[in-house]
Symmetry: C2
Subunit: 310 residues, 2 copies
């Protein structure tokens, strides 16, 4: 099996993770968490969202967060931006980079953005144009690339169409999101086969939610197909707000374990990463579900792996 020697992990916990948690985390704790994440070796952190606080009250403090974090040289601090108003707010905080987002399926796009896919492009184009004028790079997210909670399975050709328009606008990378975490490796393969006919693998990132436990298998398939950028959340944050233990993004520390154990370089210090996960666990006040955190809990309590077993 041919695998890349180096992978970039883009940490989206402070944005995708926290926006899906019911609890509002104190601004000072968000700042401290991002400062800790900055010291793990991560090179990219999506720190917040400039979606209107009416929609995502959990991230209503995005300005203060972005202005107050200690930026470490070499780390990109990005934020999600839905429209020109959001961009203005983000630029006002000296954001390094922004992300725009839309869905590959009409149903989810309508629900999430309240526009059809065709109506969404001009809104994003305006954002991308203005960001470029400000010399700020733009990343594009495409949601529901495997399936949509409203429309069912999504055809790879539909994802291609949306990704193509985003690249035309000038985004430097498209992150392909299995938003509801239903995908399996055969679907990832079909999707990437379609997209890699048109774009080189270094322009694509994969964004897996681990709702059904298939995220790392999907990462493996993506790696085999040449993908070298993956999104994840420390502590696997981002579950359904009302369900204990529901899965959000694939956990950064679990992704990092698999990659490192396969001798793929990520640049991340696993101990620092776990410590930052426990920091947020304490602030969020619920048990975070990642395998590496579980192992750390066992080690701290003096339990070893179950050695007496087949």
């Amino acid at each position: 099996m041919k695998l890349p020697t180096k992978v970039t992990i883009k940490e989206v916990g402070p944005r995708d993770g926290l926006q899906n948690e019911s609890k509002f985390i104190d601004t000072k704790d968000k700042i401290e968490w991002i400062n800790r994440l900055s010291k793990t070796g991560l090179s990219y952190i999506e720190v917040s969202s400039f979606v209107h606080p009416k929609w995502i009250p959990q991230l209503a403090d995005s300005e203060e967060v972005l202005k107050s974090i200690q930026k470490k040289p070499g780390v990109t601090y990005a934020a999600l931006v839905p429209n020109i108003r959001g961009l203005e707010r983000a630029l006002n905080c000296q954001v390094d980079e922004i992300s725009v987002f839309m869905s590959a399926s009409e149903g989810h796009n309508k629900q999430n953005i309240n526009k059809t896919i065709d109506e969404t492009f001009p809104v994003l184009k305006e954002v991308v144009d203005e960001a470029k004028k400000a010399n700020v790079k733009v990343r594009g997210y495409v949601s529901t690339v495997i399936a949509c909670p409203y429309d069912g399975l999504v055809a790879p050709k539909q994802v291609l169409k949306v990704a193509d328009r985003l690249f035309d606008m000038g985004v430097y990378e498209v992150s392909l999101g299995d938003t509801i975490g239903v995908g399996v490796p055969t679907q990832v393969e079909s999707l990437l086969e379609t997209l890699l006919k048109h774009f080189p693998p270094n322009l694509l990132a994969m964004h897996f939610h681990d709702t059904r436990g298939t995220a790392l298998a999907n990462v493996l398939k993506s790696l085999e197909m040449g993908i070298t950028t993956f999104d994840s959340s420390t502590g696997g944050l981002g579950g359904c707000p009302y369900a204990k233990g529901a899965s959000g993004n694939v956990a950064t520390e679990d992704l990092n374990y698999m990659l490192s154990a396969m001798h793929i370089e990520t640049g991340i210090n696993p101990e620092a990463l776990i410590d930052s996960a426990f920091f947020m666990e304490e602030k969020i006040g619920k048990i975070l579900i990642s395998k590496q955190m579980e192992i750390a809990r066992n080690e701290r309590s003096g339990n070893l792996d179950n050695a007496r077993t087949v």
Copy 2:
């Protein structure tokens, strides 16, 4: 990617799962659970162990369990057997099939069986010989095929040596266990490359513990290499007894989800499987950690997947 069209899942929850749980489950509940598992479409259930109750008190009722379950035609009911005394007890209960076990590493073998690897072979040979006389098939487990908690990494050649001896004795299949759940797909590939030079893939099964979340990625790699038999536990049972949520075997329902979504036939009814997992969760009195159970909990409580997200 070339995948098999059909896979056999061997359910080891009543044995490998329950032996690693601290709580003794009432015999009548074990029986009821196995009866429910029998109705899911599973074709193979390892129902208990005839290891001396001094070592595994959780399964001290193996005779009563095996004698009292309602055997469904077409389902194989197997039990783990450590030695000739255990075999006698198992045969006395009309077991369909037995499993013998040893480790690929000296450290774990010594700890688990209190013998060196070379000292173990004659003990198992005696069991296999007697089982064959009774027309009972024997499956062989090899533990610590990737790494050992005492000896560190285990060389594929060492696994090959042990598997080869087991086949020589007359086992019909060898199940390769990543006992401590550290393995990643590159290691699975190295291991299988070595073994598949000597044995066809239909003689090998993979037995992954999901301690680090890599089990399904390892399953994917095994499938790509032609493996068609996998062990798993309903509810992901079998964690470290003192640590809430610690991972045991890969959960049958999560394995079955990935396989089914990839259009690989397993013959298993997912709803019946989940129901049997919730039955055992109630009896065991702790939250079982599998993704499919989490989804079912959300659906039952009226929560949908987090649709408003990137």
